[in-house]
Structures are given as C-alpha cells and as structure tokens.
C-alpha cells in the first residue's frame, strides 16, 4: 500500500504544488518554514481541504481527483490525523476520546472501550482513563492524541507539528516515544514539522517544502549533508553557496574559490562554519582560499561566536570567544579568511 499524491491547492496567496509518495512502513517528514503550505498539504491528504488540481491515491483507492470529480470525504478515508494542539474532545473522558474513532467506524461500545483501554495501557496512561482531557499535561495529551489516531488502525497517519506545543523537556521524551510508535506503525506516516531535529529523529525521509514547492526530497543524512535550499542550510547552521564550477575553480558571485575535486557547471558548495579560519594578518602556508573581508555581525551562540563575513563571499564562521578576543575582531573590523580546498563540499545543482 502506497500513498501517492500530487497536491495542487490554491488558497489565498498560497500556491501549493507538491508531489509526495510514501510507501508502507515509511515515515516521511515534510519540513519547511512557516507558511510554506505544510499544514495545507496534510489537510488535503486528510480530505479537509479539497484539491484544486492533482490527485491523491491511497493504495488503489483514488480519494481526490478534481479532474475526475472524485472527492472522498475525510470520514471515509483510511487516514487518521494528529493535530498540532491535539484537539482532544474536552467533553469526553480520555478513554472515550480514544474510542471515538472506533465507535464512529461502527465498532461496538464494549469492544471500542476495551481497545481504547489497551491503547491507554500502551501509552502508560491507564490511570487517566476516566479523566477529562484538561487534566492531562501537554505530553500526556499528545500521547492520547496519537493513541486516538492509531486506534482507528489507519493506513495513512498524518501528524501536524505534533511536538510543537510541548516544552523542551517533555519534547525529548515524547519525540523518542513518537519515533518508536512510528517505527512500529505498518502504514504510511507523514509528519509535518519546522524543526529539523524532530524530523531527523522521527523520519526516514525528508521532503523540504518552500513556498508551496518541494525543493529537496531525500534520506535524512543526504538532505542534511547536501542541502539544496537556504532554509535547510540555515536550519543546519551551515553555509550554502551557489557557484559555477570549471574544474576545481568555483565562481561565486564575483569571487573565486578552489575546490579539491573537479566539477563542471552549476553546483552547490557547502562550507561548515567551523572549517573557516580567521586571521589578523594574511596567513602563510597551505590554505588555497585566502581573502580579506569586513566583519558584518557578531553573535554569541552558546560557547561559540558566529562571525558574519561580508563581501565578496558572505559566509558565517564559527570561532571560540577566546579566539575572537585574541584576533581583536569586532563588528566593522577587517579580517583575513582562510578555507582549505578539502573543506569545500561541492555537488551539482
């Protein structure tokens, strides 16, 4: 069973056009900045927002195809959704929240109750079975929301920012549990998030969406090592340059860099901030890429200082605060920059 979708939705200023294919047992994270259309994508898959163009197929079942006039309503799709603010029904006891989907799909009262309690047990929340949701903490509510969705035994599980409403400590625990539950889940799972760490821990594959379009799709390690968008590079805290390669020579805007390996044509160049060395005077020795520039901005992040370098190549270097003092660097001062050729990661655009 495969989720196979081309989701085209025009909604206000959003023009979403995303292709997504998720296989059984696969967990795909859709990662992107706010307003990229991630939530709309999930809503379209769930049937809450109809497609403008495209098609959504779950296994052999076409659930939305405007060209064919097919639109299966949410309640008749083999999907379940976990919402950002959990949306547990406030008037129902916790166990009845979990049993809700089963009851709606025609399971008898006693059987639904029994299965709901099994889920509560699995989530370690049996003690709260008869409480109302407002008695739960954020993490507990998230677990119940997940159990409520999984209890219906969906073929497609959709999760909209499931961790964003949690505080940092709870988040670590719930993230780990979520990963375990998703690994055990046999169907297709799509999780929407703007947090790369959540995505990396929970998902097998990342789909990066920006302004309604997929900018990258690949395994977590590949996407993070070789980002194809400024959004991912910023999230990873690394420098991403677009360049044109001519052998080992890389032209970046007006400047040139030298790489260790030869490439041809349009390429991306990744430079780790820690691979950039700063000097007070022109360094002698091996580095192939040396230039001088102005320091635009300085930020202290944890025990590292991030130094934003100006033209000709806008990069962010990371040094220790001690080095900063030693080099006498401040905003507006000149500095020498050196990057080894072997530290440039070059791949085709």
């Amino acid at each position: 069973m495969t989720l196979d979708a081309r989701v085209g939705v025009v909604l206000g200023s959003l023009d979403l056009d995303v292709e997504l294919r998720v296989d059984d047992g696969e967990v795909v994270a859709v990662l992107g900045p706010n307003g990229a259309g991630k939530t709309t994508l999930l809503r379209a898959l769930a049937g809450l927002t109809p497609l403008t163009t495209g098609r959504v197929r779950i296994g052999e079942l076409v659930v939305d195809d405007p060209a064919l006039g097919v639109l299966v309503p949410p309640e008749r799709r083999p999907c379940a959704m976990v919402f950002q603010e959990h949306l547990l029904f406030p008037h129902l006891a916790v166990v009845d929240n979990i049993a809700f989907g089963l009851r709606s799909r025609g399971v008898g009262r006693a059987e639904a109750d029994r299965r709901a309690r099994t889920w509560l047990d699995r989530m370690g929340l049996s003690a709260y079975a008869n409480d109302k949701p407002h008695a739960l903490s954020g993490g507990q509510a998230q677990r119940v929301a997940l159990a409520r969705a999984l209890a219906t035994d969906p073929q497609v599980l959709l999760l909209d920012e499931p961790l964003s409403a949690l505080d940092a400590t709870t988040r670590d625990d719930v993230r780990r549990e979520l990963r375990d539950h998703l690994r055990a889940f046999a169907g297709c799972a799509v999780i929407v998030t703007h947090d790369p760490f959540d995505a990396a821990v929970v998902a097998d594959r990342l789909v990066i969406v920006e302004s309604g379009h997929v900018v990258q799709d690949g395994l977590v390690a590949d996407v993070t090592a070789r980002p194809r968008s400024g959004f991912v590079a910023d999230l990873m805290g690394i420098n991403l340059l677009t360049a044109t390669a001519d052998g080992t020579t890389l032209r970046v805007d007006g400047a040139e860099l030298t790489a260790a390996d030869a490439h041809e044509g349009p390429v991306f160049v990744v430079v780790a901030p820690s691979a950039i060395a700063l000097y007070g005077a022109r360094p002698s020795g091996s580095p192939r890429n040396v230039w001088s520039t102005r320091v635009d901005e300085l930020h202290l992040v944890g025990d590292r200082a991030r130094v934003h370098l100006g033209a000709p190549i806008p990069l962010v270097a990371e040094v220790t605060p001690a080095a900063l003092a030693e080099l006498d660097i401040a905003e507006g001062t000149e500095t020498w920059v050196a990057v080894k050729a072997t530290q440039l990661v070059v791949y085709p655009r």
Binding site: L48, P74, E75, L87, F89, H91, F100, S104
Partner: protein, 255 residues
C-alpha cells in the same frame, strides 16, 4: 452623570420594590392556590415547556444552517428570525391569526383538511409562545456555533465520524452552554408571553389562560392574586437571570 445614573437605577428599582413590598405575603400561598391561579400555573408550565421543546427541535437546525451553510438570502432569513423579538407581540398575534387562524392562510386549509383549529386552543397558545420566544434560541445557538472551534469537528471527521455523528457527539456537547442559555431565555420569554397569546389564542381558563393572562384578568377584583402571580413570574425571571449571569451580566459564574 452619577445623579442621572442614580435616577435611572431608582426608576428601574421602584416598581420591583413596590411589587415586593405591596404583596400580601401572609396570604401568598392561599392566593397561589386558588383554582384559577393553579390552572394558569399548570397551563403556563405545559405551554412554555412545549414552546421551548419546539424551539429546540426546529430552532437548532435553523441556527446550524445560519451559522454553517451558505444558504441563500441568509441575512434575510436572520432578519425574519429576529423580527418577533422586536415586533409588538400583539402584532405577532394578529399576524398569527391571519396565518394560522381558522380563516388564515394555512389555518383555513388545516381546518378544511381535518377540522384542526389552533385559535382558542392550548396548541394555539403554544404556537404563539413559540413564535415569540424561538428567536432567543436561534440567535443564542447560532452565536455558540459561530464561536466554536470548528477544528474539533474536523478532528472528528478524520476519525471516521459522519456529519450526523459529528453533530451529535461533538458539536452539540461543545455548544451545550449556548444551547442551555438559549433554552432558558426561550422558556422565560415563553412563560411571560401575553400579547400574541391573548390575540391569537384568547383567554379561556384551563385552555389558553396562561399566567400573564391570569395576572391581567385578576387585577380587576382579585388584585392580591394578580400580585402573587406577578411575584412568581418575577422569581422565575430572577432565577433565569442568575443562572445566566456569566453570559449576560459580564461576570463569570465562579466570580
């Protein structure tokens, strides 16, 4: 400003105060136990509860349509719903007479069909009360539906609940406070209905003579009974007001 406000408060308070102090408290129970008072009391309860029930059964679907659907001429329909709230009740009674009276638009047809006559019957009293009181239910429930977080309904539908299940298990429980408030206001309004009832249904003891009608009729000759019944209606009004204080007086029920 303070003086003007004080005058206004006094203006509002004096009649209520007079009603309470002028009542002959010693004979109150006896006044309320006269056959006419008891029959009016029983009839009023029956009619107002029927009117409330009818308002819920027919008013909630209308409120849902007004709040949720893209029904045509929605504002016109809403204006029609609110009209009985601002219409002088006696005019409502005349309109009912022309519509559902024995020679009315629908009433004449009903009479020819099966000899059904709404005027001068308890059913007529119920109809008049419903006509005047239903807007309170529709407007309150519509407001509740509009302010409800619809994502809960969406969550229910993704869990496999069809529209009717969503309505029954999610929508209604979540707007229950509005529904209860609307029903209480409707009931209070129906209980106090006078103009439309006396115009459309007349005042026949035991059949259409509800409490307010009894108050009016007893005022000549049996003023004590009229005052006692008035006190009863005042108490009911206060009880509704107190139970809805969070909604109407800008206070939370706990504070």
């Amino acid at each position: 400003m303070a003086v003007a406000a004080a005058v206004t408060v006094a203006f509002l308070a004096v009649p209520v105060f007079a009603l309470i102090t002028k009542a002959s408290w010693g004979t109150l129970w006896g006044d309320l136990s006269t056959p006419e008072a008891r029959s009016a009391l029983r009839l009023s309860l029956v009619c107002s509860l029927w009117a409330t029930a009818l308002s819920i059964v027919f008013g909630v679907p209308l409120a849902w349509m007004l709040a949720r659907s893209r029904m045509p001429a929605r504002n016109l329909v809403r204006a029609l719903v609110i009209l009985p709230m601002v219409l002088p009740p006696v005019v409502g009674g005349v309109a009912l007479l022309l519509g559902f009276g024995r020679r009315g638009l629908i009433g004449g047809w009903l009479y020819d069909l099966d000899g059904i006559q709404l005027t001068f019957s308890t059913a007529g009293a119920v109809l008049a009360e419903t006509f005047v009181a239903m807007p309170f239910l529709v407007i309150t429930v519509e407001a509740g539906l509009r302010s409800m977080d619809r994502r809960y309904e969406e969550a229910a539908s993704t869990l496999g609940a069809g529209r009717w299940t969503v309505f029954r298990r999610v929508t209604v429980p979540m707007i229950l406070p509005s529904l209860v408030a609307g029903a209480a206001l409707t009931w209070a309004r129906a209980l106090g209905e006078f103009g439309a009832t006396i115009t459309f249904a007349g005042s026949i003891q035991g059949r259409t003579e509800t409490l307010p009608l009894a108050v009016y009729l007893q005022l000549e000759g049996h003023q004590d009974v009229a005052v006692a019944l008035s006190l009863l209606l005042l108490a009911v009004s206060l009880a509704v007001l107190v139970s809805l204080r969070g909604r109407w007086l800008g206070m939370s029920p706990s504070g």
